[in-house]
Subunit: 210 residues, 2 copies
Amino acid sequence: MGKVRVAGFSVSIDGFGAGPDQSLEHPLGKRGGELHNWFYPTRVFQSMIGKEGGTEDRFAAAAMEGFGAFILGRNMFGPIRGEWPDDVWKGWWGDNPPYHAPTFILTHHARASIVMEGGTTFHFVTDGIEAALAQAKAAAGDLDVKIGGGVSTVRQYLLAGAIDELQLSLSPVVLGRGESLFAGIDLPSLGYRLTEAVPMELATHVVLTR
Amino acid sequence: MGKVRVAGFSVSIDGFGAGPDQSLEHPLGKRGGELHNWFYPTRVFQSMIGKEGGTEDRFAAAAMEGFGAFILGRNMFGPIRGEWPDDVWKGWWGDNPPYHAPTFILTHHARASIVMEGGTTFHFVTDGIEAALAQAKAAAGDLDVKIGGGVSTVRQYLLAGAIDELQLSLSPVVLGRGESLFAGIDLPSLGYRLTEAVPMELATHVVLTR
């Protein structure tokens, strides 16, 4: 049985996992993209956008590799409602998304599954986070399930006690406003302990386990 | 004219500058002392407790050295009311406190100034943060004024737009509860920009200026 993990999840100094005013133009919120400055130069990200090269970074690798299934909130899949024509939009990533595994989208709108290139199939789950997790675990088998975000999805699974390991990348960015990962969430009371902290040039990576 | 600075101010991953349930036994709140794990091994801290040796750390030095005056909240000076006999308590630090300069304590209880050894004089200011800052600036002359904490005092001066430079030490600690430095404070809107980020083994140090 695999673990349920959050990995490569970037957070600002002031605790935001996304910027404010998310839109089609700013899917991560204003200045939200700066949270991921540590990730862009890595081989893992370069490969996600179809390029060769990039730096080796074990936290970037751990963020995308070795998962048997992914769970994403609906905003991770597409822009705000009304700008997402259901039968046309197939995610932000083109024909070959970087998941390469069954990927479960939390949504209130039922839709047929979409088989993409490279092993990714998008499944749309309308009956809640626990149903999505059960389906993802079944699909992942012995591999891990990644809770891919966004902030609201990670917070829901944290509060449900469903996440075994939380790997955060603390970016040297101050956003001021946005989606707070931590507000009202008491990680030690939920059973999490810091088990690793690795300061690197572009981010400090920490791992919490329970 | 010197600057008004916060320096060596330790913050947890989840944004707390002190732990919960502050008491005589836990003046920094429960587990709050862990925020300063980066500071204890330094020469600057070792010297504060009368010991020789310790590591050289420019952020530790910048946290205590070069100031012409300090401002402290009342909880930084003494434990909770009722456990602070006004005419006896002379701070946490013994006869020779680590400030070596005029040090202004924000309080609602008037008290005569106390001349300590080593250049520290404690002055008790009862007419608010702006009066305290004016007195501290006058005392500091061309040197900087340090807003020494705690969290509530730093937040008040941030919101008043009085702080020129904010140097934070991000400790790999998750507290869950405590005094949040950032909650409801939008640093970019207050004019702060990140100007330096230095990952070190025990903390990542960042500098914000306006």
